[in-house]
Amino acid sequence: MSNTFCVTITECKTNGDKATLGFVVANAALGSDKDTMIFLSADGVWAAVKGEYEKIDEGAPFAPLKDLVDKFVGNGGRILVCSPCIKKRGITEDMLVDGATPAGGAALVEFLADGAPCVAY
């Protein structure tokens, strides 16, 4: 069984439900002792932008996205954010939440090529 787990998220403002679910599952992986990485791309990058991720709240039974993201990072989860995707949207590194790092596709490929299972939202 792999000790790593990856979640990719491609929507946030366009579909807050998907961003929320992605982080819920990532927290399940992290809470199950998996070294867990979230890769945000396309519209999903907004889930790691300060001043934006606070706006997504799908309501009960889901926690607000901010709580899910902060809990993920606070428990040692890693967030990689597609660098051309943030550049396209005028987002700079200082606008990202703590624990989120811009990265290119090679970082995702490396993580998956090492055997990490991946689920996409």
Binding site: N27, A28, G31, S32, K34, P61, K71
Partner: protein, 79 residues
């Protein structure tokens, strides 16, 4: 707590009320992290997915599911 099997013996209790899935699991991990090995933890979760979720979490983390009587679960932390 009403409904807990009378013969269960446990050291700690974590009542998650109706929470389930990942947000519950990551909090459960935090609770277990602070317990000594071999602790008997009684977990309560009234989420509909808990009867599947908690046994899966125990298999993944190698904590032992001693017994289950939904919504109650008796877990012994791994050594």
């Amino acid at each position: 707590m009403a409904g807990v099997p009378a013969h269960w013996e446990f050291d700690e209790v974590y009542d998650a009320v109706d929470r389930g899935c990942g947000d519950f699991i990551i909090d459960l991990k935090r609770v277990v992290t602070h317990l000594p090995p071999g602790t008997n933890l009684m977990v309560a979760s009234r989420d509909a997915g808990a009867p599947v979720e908690i046994p899966a979490w125990c298999r993944l983390t190698r904590h032992r599911l001693v017994d289950a009587a939904p919504p109650f679960y008796l877990i012994r932390t791994r050594s």
